[in-house]
């Protein structure tokens, strides 16, 4: 069943099947929306946060989602600035995933403030010394850039493309995309970094605090680097998942491998830097504030040294080595496993830099602070996932996202 709304030459499931799929995901979305309105109406008492956990699940979700959405800026960087033309085959999808990630992050941020109606104060009364201000500005600007990058993809829908102005707009946007992409890379570099800075500048929190360069703590660079390393992994992972769901190949394996190789080297260099940072922190920074490494990993029911090993070794070095080896990349299972591990690794890192920072006690007579999210927090955190699935489904159905789809699926 082909309607003009669906791109030419590709096969899509029936409208009925698609509607059922949307309804199922939509139900989850509605649950999240309900929780979202509860939080807006009743306030943050609907969450499991408290005065020790000013930052919790949502901030983690923000950080994680932005790190994973980093695929968009890094692929854009590789495609438009370095000139890796083959990546044009995933750049559309990377942009869509980035768009979803960033819009979700903004939504969660809007939820996570006590006075949402005053949210714009962060721009209006900006404190330029605050990492969060930097995050807010770069995040919003970059979201604008992502929207600009997303528009031409939308405009390629056969129906829209028939409108001359939109047709030209799409064309002209494509023409200058490199400029936007470059601006996006610049903005991304800063907000990814500022997100790292958010925790790293907390000199009252020895678990988070890092020395650094000028005003930027090392976490600033580590966050940017890790987002660049893992963002493409997430793009590949989602593409792979989409292939599994749609039961067809959408992007050529070489592209996956190319991204894997780049990610692998990025990840490896990131891990070297991260390990060096961790060592310096454990041996110099933390002890200067009276803390031994194990003080941060003992006397509590959750945070043991396992979490450090999981982040650095299992989800850090291991995937890095798989991805840099040709054998590892050429085995699809290994490739995808490594990428999933890398994604988990960056999520652990963001968790640790938010939640464990809050959990660790500072005064010797205090205990570890424990936190349990409420269903409202969980639902609003799942909400972006549902929203993302819906947007991806729509995009995949109505837009020519994957240039190689026709070629890879002949006979449709």
């Amino acid at each position: 069943m082909t309607t003009p709304a669906i791109p030419e030459g590709v096969k899509r499931c029936s409208t009925r099947k698609f509607a059922i799929w949307l309804a199922v995901v939509g139900a989850v979305l509605l649950w999240g929306v309900y929780a979202m309105f509860l939080v807006w109406y009743k306030g943050l008492n609907q969450t499991g946060m408290n005065d020790a956990y000013g930052f919790a699940l949502w901030i983690w979700a923000d950080l994680a989602v932005i790190a994973l959405g980093g695929g968009a800026f890094f692929s854009g960087f590789l495609t438009y600035i370095i000139g890796k033309k083959e990546l044009k085959n995933v750049i559309n999808y990377a942009v869509i995933i980035g768009f979803i990630c960033y819009s979700s992050a903004l939504l969660i941020l809007a939820l996570d403030i006590g006075q949402p109606l005053r949210g714009w104060f962060i721009f209006w009364h900006a404190n330029v010394h605050s990492m969060l201000t930097e995050v807010a500005f770069c995040l919003s600007c970059y979201f604008g850039v992502l929207t600009i990058e997303f528009i031409p993809v939308v405009l390629e829908n056969p129906k829209l493309d028939r409108i001359p102005f939109l047709h030209h707009l799409s064309h002209n946007l494509h023409e200058v995309m490199a400029v936007f992409a470059a601006t996006g890379v610049f903005l991304s570099f800063f907000h990814q970094g500022s997100l790292g800075g958010v925790a790293g500048v907390l000199y009252g929190r020895p678990f988070a605090f890092r020395e650094g360069l000028l005003i930027w703590p090392w976490t600033f660079f580590l966050f940017t680097w890790s987002a660049a390393a893992v963002g493409p992994c997430f793009t590949v992972m989602v593409t792979w998942l989409t292939e599994k769901v749609t039961r067809k190949k959408l992007v050529k394996q070489e592209i996956f491998q190319l991204l894997g190789k780049i990610s692998g080297w990025m990840l490896l260099t990131y891990m070297i830097a991260k390990i060096a940072d961790t060592l310096y922190w454990a041996v110099v920074t933390a002890p200067s504030k009276g803390f031994a490494l194990m003080d941060f990993y003992s006397n509590n029911p959750v945070y043991g040294i396992w979490i450090l090993i999981a982040e650095l070794v299992v989800c850090g070095l291991v995937p890095a080595f798989i991805l840099i080896s040709r054998k590892g990349r050429e085995n699809n299972t290994m490739l995808i496993t490594a990428m999933i591990l890398a994604v988990i690794g960056v999520c652990i890192n963001r968790w640790v830099m938010v939640l464990q920072v809050m959990a660790a006690p500072l005064l010797p007579f205090q205990e570890w602070y424990m936190y349990m999210p409420t269903w409202q927090e969980v639902a609003t955190t799942i909400l972006p996932v549902a929203y993302g699935i819906i947007l991806i489904s729509l995009a995949h159905r109505y837009l020519p996202v994957f240039p190689q789809e026709k070629e890879l699926n002949p006979g449709n």
Partner: protein, 757 residues
């Protein structure tokens, strides 16, 4: 079609750009910002100049001078009155947060009568006229049945004009049953009477003492006048003058230069052991003991019988034996005795915890004897008797009243069995519950205190109250006892009324303080003095004649006419003539001397050993095998343990290891925890012979193993949602243990068991 689309697009884009250029979006966002800053449901307090008003806090019997900041006639904040002779500017958290009770939801706002079952909380508003006629009709009816003596009145104090009016009312009406709520001063005042022959308030000159030996007094957590004690604490600390005897590392013990962790209930033995050393080593004040004391040596009565003296009693308490009893090592006892006798002004004080439980007479007498041994009676830094107020006008009463007054008291005080005890509220429940037919109390006026919360074994007390046909409460707040009454005649809040506050117990000078209205009366309440005058008026006859004043204020000004100027101006009056009498004139005992052998002590056996203050272990209720632990209540400055419950601010200050999610934590030593397999935070059921309660466990090294310490003042069931339902009431777990000679409650704790919940 194409043109239309273009038009449409231009319109949309143009419109959007145009709107951004108008002030509309900016104005809207600005309005939103302003609105979130002025949410109508966030109150804006009214501004105005501050007016400071002096008064005296009556939330406990401490009577601290306060300075209330008011703005536009509303009380805002409360601080201690800097020059007030009792507290010298210091104030406890309860006093500071009094405004919360003034404006809070626990106030009784008008007279009410009960419509549902007792304690059910169903009330109907009535007029004052109806309230007064209901009470006076009930009282008139009892009087007409010649049963005026079946009326009883409970009050928190027996000094000052309001307690006096209550007593005067009962006397004119014909009932001897004026009952003051129990406190450790019951025992101390009786000891004062037995040793010095005087009725009065006991004063301790702690400021001038060089050495203070405190037998479990929670000086920092509510003993005596909290403001006064807190104010003196720095002095205790800096001059290293405090030694605290107590099985728990309390706030007072923490402040002391030495913490002597004696087994609970062995304080008297320790006092005797110290006395033993002092006498053995001839360290006592020979002048005082030889010339102004009686019964130190053996003596012969008029019948020629030779009686044992205090000195020979002490022989039974050598340090080694006392060490065995108290768990304190011999060396500590010896050195403590030497320190006590060598310091220039040493004073020993008693009254466990915040002084809510009287304790046994042996203990009070043994501690008093220590002060006498060092001759520190009526000396700077010593013990002094402050005479009771005696400025009361004459009155006449009719025959019914005289007959009523001849009847024995319901509580057994001043009877042959307990001749020296003035009030025994603790014995009232038994007197009612054991009565064969109708309750010996037919009408109860609760004019202070909150017995259904503060009495030991509150369940039994409640059963007794059930049998009283008529209960009227004058309480300002909907407390546990008011909730159990039939009719409520609410008194003004203390920030709305006049009242005099005579010398608080423990204060070494003669003072009167003036509580006065700092805010206008908020509700349809009435001063208890006025209510009494109204009731007397409606009863008529001699009773009416005994209350010739137009209102309470008139009576107050008349009574304190001599002091009124000073009271009005300064808020207090200090007796300029008061001087502790010299030893020659000080004692009004039969011997005219300080009596180490209290010859007036009730002693049915006639044995010297029972008259002299020896050590007799108080048998706590319960079987040790079933209840291997010992529950002991402890006082905390952050939890009001008395009649008036914590205001929300105070509860806010209580730590999460004292109360959490409505559960109270009991402290146990980690050793005890190990033996009973408990760890921090575990839920448990605490059982005693009187009842059980759900608690949680807090491990505390500072508590003697084998004990379970529970805070006093939690577990309220009344007042308001903000106060009720937090933890359990320790009083409900304790049982009255009758002291043989005095009838006072000597029960300092209870056997208990802890089982995992």
């Amino acid at each position: 079609m194409k043109i239309d689309r273009r038009c449409f697009l231009s319109l949309v884009i143009g419109g959007a750009v145009g709107t951004t250029l108008t002030p509309v979006p900016w104005k809207l966002t600005d309005d939103i910002a302003i609105w979130t800053q002025n949410w109508p449901w966030t109150p804006t307090p009214e501004k105005g100049p501050s007016v400071y008003k002096k008064s005296v806090c009556t939330l406990c019997n401490g009577g601290c001078g306060i300075n209330v900041r008011t703005v536009k006639g509303q009380a805002k904040t409360i601080a201690g009155q800097a020059d007030y002779p009792v507290n010298r500017g210091s104030l406890c958290p309860m006093g500071i947060s009094a405004t919360q009770h003034l404006y809070g939801p626990s106030r009784i706002q008008s007279p009410m009568k009960r419509t549902g079952d007792r304690g059910q909380g169903k009330w109907e508003k009535i007029s004052w006229a109806e309230a007064i006629s209901t009470v006076s009709e009930k009282l008139a009816e009892l009087r007409s049945r010649k049963k005026p003596h079946t009326v009883a009145c409970i009050a928190e104090s027996d000094r000052g004009t309001v307690p006096y009016l209550l007593q005067r009312f009962l006397t004119a009406y014909g009932s001897p049953n004026f009952i003051r709520t129990p406190s450790s001063f019951d025992a101390q005042e009786q000891a004062l009477y037995l040793t010095q022959g005087k009725h009065g308030t006991i004063g301790y000159d702690l400021a001038n003492a060089e050495f203070i030996l405190s037998f479990g007094c929670a000086l920092m957590d509510g003993w005596g006048t909290p403001g006064q004690m807190l104010s003196a604490s720095a002095d205790f600390k800096q001059k290293n003058k405090l030694v605290q005897v107590e099985p728990r590392l309390s706030d007072t013990a923490a402040l002391a230069s030495q913490w002597v962790a004696a087994k609970p209930g062995t304080e008297a033995a320790l006092a005797l052991g110290l006395a033993h050393v002092i006498v053995r080593d001839n360290l006592y004040n020979k002048d005082f003991v030889d010339n102004y004391a009686f019964g130190f040596e053996a003596w012969e009565d008029e019948n020629g019988t030779v009686h044992q003296g205090y000195k020979s009693l002490l022989k039974q308490y050598p340090p080694k034996k006392v060490a065995g009893i108290t768990g304190i090592d011999k060396g500590t006892i010896e050195s403590l005795a030497r320190k006590f006798s060598r310091a220039k002004h040493s004073v020993a004080i008693c009254g466990r915890g915040s002084g809510m439980v009287p304790g046994g007479m042996d203990e009070a007498l043994a501690v008093f004897a220590l002060n006498a041994l060092v001759g520190n009676i009526n000396q700077p830094g010593g013990v002094t008797a402050i005479p009771e107020p005696d400025y009361w006008p004459e009155m006449q009463r009719d025959k019914t009243a005289s007959n009523g007054m001849q009847q024995p008291r319901v509580d057994g005080a001043e009877s042959d069995r307990f001749p020296n005890t003035r009030y025994l509220l603790n014995r009232v429940p038994e007197a009612i519950n054991s009565a064969k037919d109708e309750s010996p109390i037919q009408a109860l006026l609760v004019a202070g205190g909150n017995p259904l919360y503060t009495m030991a074994d509150t369940e039994t007390a409640k059963k007794a109250f059930d049998k009283i046909p008529f209960i009227a409460s004058f309480s300002t707040y909907m407390d546990e006892t008011a909730q159990y009454a039939d009719i409520l005649l609410p008194n003004h809040h203390f920030l709305e009324r006049y009242e005099d506050v005579p010398t608080p117990a423990g204060t070494p000078t003669r003072v009167i303080g003036l509580t006065r209205p700092v805010v206008e009366t908020r509700h349809d309440t009435r001063h208890i003095g006025d209510t009494l005058i109204n009731i007397a008026g409606s009863l008529g006859g001699f009773i009416e004649n005994a209350f010739p004043w137009g209102n309470y204020e008139e009576f107050l000004k008349q009574t304190l006419a001599g002091q009124w100027d000073s009271l009005e101006k300064q808020g207090y009056w200090v007796d300029p003539e008061f001087m502790p009498p010299a030893w020659e004139e000080a004692f009004q005992t039969p011997s005219g001397k300080y009596e180490f052998y209290p010859s007036q002590r009730s002693n049915p056996s006639g044995k010297d050993a029972d008259a002299l203050p020896g050590f007799r272990q108080v048998e706590l209720p319960g079987v040790q095998e079933k209840m291997p632990l010992t529950l002991m209540p402890y006082a905390s400055a952050r939890i009001a343990g008395g009649a008036v419950a914590n205001p929300p601010f105070m509860t806010k200050t209580v730590d999460a290891d004292v109360i959490r999610d409505g559960d109270v934590f009991v402290e146990i030593n980690p050793k005890t925890a190990k033996e009973h397999d408990f760890s921090e935070g575990d839920a448990a059921v605490l059982k005693t012979p009187a009842g059980k309660a759900r608690v949680r466990i807090h491990l505390f090294e500072g508590l003697m193993p084998g004990l379970v310490a529970m805070p006093v003042g939690l577990g309220h069931a009344a007042f308001s949602d903000y106060i009720a339902g937090k933890g359990a009431n320790v009083n409900a777990l304790l049982t009255d243990v009758t002291d043989p000679g005095s009838g006072l409650n000597a029960g300092w704790g209870s056997r208990a068991s802890l089982v995992k919940a």
